[in-house]
């Protein structure tokens, strides 16, 4: 398998404080790669570097064969990256349907004038993309909340809607920032099931930050461990679990 994403020697600082120090790792096409580590280890910053929300001071990210120093989030989206956020970043003033529809904005080619007049292409696009959105709604089994404003949804469902919004963009690579944080076991089970299906049946490469070791061990193919901005482990789940550095810095007593 080829590497779809290569992070090389990335260093990121905020006002002099290093968030990430010289980190490199590769993500192979079609795998589920989990990034673990304590809070403040630089996991989210890493994701933000990958899709261009933050610009690293040093280092490059190679995605889909193109090496880039900098990329902006929009270009990353156009190149096929979609992501979710640690603290749900849904558009709170909109319904579930509208939120997921925004994930299709790159597929909408009609101009605002056509949309305002509600003619021709605009109407057709709205219909076609709605179909794509509905398929995702069905996939995530959220039919019953389609027209509910997201602000009224419980946390677990909001997470699911956010996954839907990323998925509907038909990405090549999906970046998930703590998709299961704050969920109960049943919700975690749902979410892992969706992630596995997305990965195995739709073939979307997935990079996922997650705390729950149980989930990480069960569903990921590859684990990267960060600690205070440094990489301390990289390998298959079982390799990482037996890595002494990882046990010392993160896991404590081995489980």
């Amino acid at each position: 398998m080829t590497d779809i994403l290569k992070v090389e020697n990335v260093t990121l600082t905020f006002g002099g404080v290093k968030a990430i120090t010289d980190i490199s790792f590769n993500v192979r096409e079609g795998e589920i790669c989990a990034v673990i580590g304590p809070n403040g280890a630089g996991k989210s910053s890493m994701l933000n570097v990958i899709n261009g929300v933050y610009l690293p001071q040093i280092g490059t990210v190679t995605y889909d064969g193109v090496e880039r120093r900098t990329i902006n989030p929009r270009d990353a989206a156009i190149a096929g990256m979609a992501r979710t956020f640690q603290n749900i970043a849904l558009f709170q003033g909109m319904t579930v349907l509208e939120n997921i529809m925004t994930g299709r904005n790159l597929f909408m080619k009609s101009s605002w004038l056509e949309q305002g007049l509600n003619i021709g292409r605009a109407r057709k696009e709205e219909k076609e993309n709605r179909l794509a959105v509905e398929k995702v709604i069905k996939f995530l089994q959220i039919e019953s909340i389609r027209k509910t404003p997201v602000s009224k949804l419980p946390y677990g469902l909001q997470k699911r809607v956010e996954l839907g919004r990323a998925l509907v963009a038909e990405p090549k690579i999906l970046l998930l920032d703590e998709p299961m944080a704050g969920m109960n076991l049943e919700e975690k089970a749902d979410m892992s099931c969706f992630i596995l299906e997305i990965n195995k049946e739709q073939g979307i490469t997935t990079v996922m930050i997650e705390h729950d070791m149980g989930v990480v061990m069960d569903i990921s193919d590859h684990v990267v461990v960060l600690d205070y901005g440094k990489k301390i482990g990289d390998g298959t789940p079982s390799e990482v679990m037996s890595n002494q550095d990882v046990i010392d810095a993160y896991l404590g007593v081995s489980h």
Binding site: L131, K135, Q141, E143, S144, R146, K200
Partner: protein
């Protein structure tokens, strides 16, 4: 030409562009006209014939919820002369195995991964040769040569006219194998029988093509098959399928069907929901609701006795507009013309309430052997006790043991061949009576009859029905065998009792603690006292216990239509029964979840 495929064909010829089927999927109601319906079936016929070699007499098990693909499959299999065995989508492995083996099914049409997985667990013990799955989600990695995707089969098939095949069918061929959950038996039913039965119902109620019906229960429930699927074919009316289990209420509201069919628990659910909502309303709204409720019932009583005044009529319009029309709107009942209830009767309070708000409840009675129905109440019936008069071509009588016997021209046949037919009279397995006007009154199952120590016999179901009429009670089990008096196990409804408790500011955590609350006990006690007043002395409920949990379907404690399954409850909750026998006032239950609970017996 009265076969199921024949009805599809004739509907297509009569009104090709009328709506046959609506299925909510991906957010919209996908519509199939009779023409579309016919085309889908004809493609399937080719597919099933070629790839599965379905032919005359092949038994095809259909295992799933109502989705169009499944509906089309039924007609297609029958066009080829096959027999459809219907299986409930939530059937457990054991049940599935029994049905497949007893019906000798060769082909299984499964809805999706859930059904396929259940089947694969019992695969080695069955003779099923091929499986068709309708939705392939989650099964990309499955490697089993028996598995066929519906979509693949269809893509290779041709759309050819099946008119001649359909007209070649004989209407006395077997159409369905129906499973009776209570009797654990399979019955075979011919095209002619079930269609004739349905025709009787639709003629009696003047159902027409302009009606519509929403079907949200699986067709494996025989009464549901008759009232929704067959009747929609017979009348050519639209048959509407909801999007998912979570959206049924909304979907029902959107369609606003003119005909509703449901087992009694659905109606009970509606009553409970209304009560649950109103319990959490503001005090003034709550009071007004109660006030309006009384007014409405008063007017209804007058209406029944025929002395409704003009003022009453005006008042009723007002009460309906302000209080009950919204409820009807929320539950999608606004356009209902006929609301059929199968499996037993609604209690008088609930029956009257529905009639008062203009939802014409019609009780019916029937089982798999009688193609789902032998009697149905006429429109505007006012008695909540009976299940109506026999349908035309049907006779009903009650023998000296109060057993209800019937004779009908639409009879099914037990697959295993055991005869329970005596001289044309079939024993329904129920006890009951006939009233003066020839209506049938059903008391309960023969096997459930309770004999008190005093030797008096009665059917517990009628008392259970009365006790359960409170919106706070989900179900009741009456115990009395070999005892001095009746006792009841009461299962409270978590939703409505929760909101009631919140209104009363009662401190509790969780269902078990709520059920053990004195206030709840008093609430139930008062209700049972009221019920007792209407009962004969020996029938009065003297003791009751409020169960610490609800009944569990997967443990077989309730049927798929939420009826109490006495046998399994007796085994699962043996401690409760023995406590009543031993006359203990406090006892401990070792429940199936391996935990123990302390319960209290309450005297009335």
């Amino acid at each position: 030409m009265a076969t199921i495929p024949g009805l599809v064909l004739s509907n297509k010829q009569k009104s090709p562009d009328a709506v046959a089927l609506r299925y909510k999927q991906l957010g919209i109601w996908n519509t199939y006209t009779w023409n579309d319906y016919y085309n889908e079936v004809s493609v399937l016929v080719d597919a099933y014939n070629k790839s599965l070699s379905v032919s005359k007499g092949t038994v095809v098990a259909v295992y799933g919820n109502n989705v169009p693909k499944l509906i089309f499959s039924i007609a297609a299999v029958q066009t080829l002369g096959g027999i459809v065995a219907l299986i409930h989508p939530e059937s457990t492995e054991g049940e599935l195995k029994t049905i497949l083996n007893n019906s000798n099914a060769e082909i299984l049409i499964a809805e999706d991964q859930q059904q396929v997985d259940t089947f694969l667990k019992v695969e080695s013990e069955c003779n099923v040769k091929k499986i068709v799955y309708l939705d392939g989600r989650g099964m990309a990695t499955y490697d089993n040569s028996k598995l066929n995707s519906y979509d693949n089969l269809v893509s290779e098939a041709k759309n050819e006219s099946i008119d001649s095949m359909i007209s070649g069918l004989s209407d006395n061929e077997v159409a369905f194998y129906l499973f009776d959950e209570h009797e654990d038996k399979i019955y075979k039913v011919s095209h002619e029988a079930i269609i004739k039965n349905s025709t009787k119902i639709s003629e009696l109620n003047k159902l027409s093509q302009n009606d519509s019906i929403v079907s949200y229960l699986p067709l494996s429930i025989p009464t549901n098959l008759l009232f929704t699927y067959i009747t929609s074919l017979v009348c050519g009316m639209s048959f509407n399928l909801p999007e998912s289990n979570q959206t049924i209420e909304k979907d029902l509201q959107e369609i606003g069907p003119s005909i509703l069919y449901a087992p009694s628990f659905v109606y009970k659910h509606i009553i409970t929901s209304i009560s649950y909502r109103i319990e959490s309303a503001t005090q003034s709204n709550y009071d007004r609701y109660m006030n309006h409720y009384k007014k409405l019932m008063n007017i209804y009583e007058k209406e029944v006795s025929g002395n409704k005044s003009l003022i009453d009529s005006i008042q009723k319009v007002w009460v309906m507009l302000t209080t009950f029309a919204p409820a009807k709107n929320v539950f999608g009942l606004t356009n209902i013309k006929h609301a059929f209830v199968s499996d037993g009767v609604l209690s008088k309070v609930n029956f009257d309430f529905f009639h008062a708000i203009g939802v014409e409840i019609q009780h019916s009675f029937g089982q798999a052997i009688s193609c789902g129905c032998i009697s149905v109440q006429p429109d505007h019936s006012v008695s909540s006790e009976n299940v109506g008069a026999p349908l035309s071509g049907t006779e009903i009588k009650v023998n000296e043991n109060s057993e209800v016997l019937f004779k009908t021209d639409c009879l099914g046949e037990n697959l295993s061949g055991e005869a329970n037919v005596d001289n044309g009279w079939v024993n329904s397995g129920y006890v009951g009576s006939m009233d003066n006007s020839g209506n049938v009154i059903i008391d309960g199952r023969t096997e459930d009859i309770v004999t008190l120590k005093s030797g008096k016999k009665f059917s517990p179901e009628s008392i259970e029905n009365l006790v359960s009429c409170s919106p706070f009670i989900k179900s009741t089990v009456i115990i009395g065998e070999n005892q001095d008096s009746n006792s009841a196990i009461v299962i409270i409804d978590p939703n409505s009792v929760n909101s009631w408790a919140d209104r009363k500011n009662i401190r509790y955590t969780g269902y078990a603690e709520l059920a053990a609350k004195e206030e709840v006990r008093d609430l139930i006690k008062d209700h049972i006292k009221c019920v007792n007043e209407t009962l004969d002395d020996h029938l009065k409920v003297k003791r009751f216990v409020i169960l610490h949990r609800t009944l569990i379907m997967t443990a077989g404690e309730v049927s798929k239509t939420m009826e109490v399954m006495r046998k399994n409850i007796t085994t699962n909750l043996n401690d409760v029964f023995s406590a009543f026998e031993k006359n203990e006032s406090k006892f401990t239950v070792n429940d199936i979840d391996q935990l123990t609970y302390d319960l209290k017996v309450n005297e009335i």
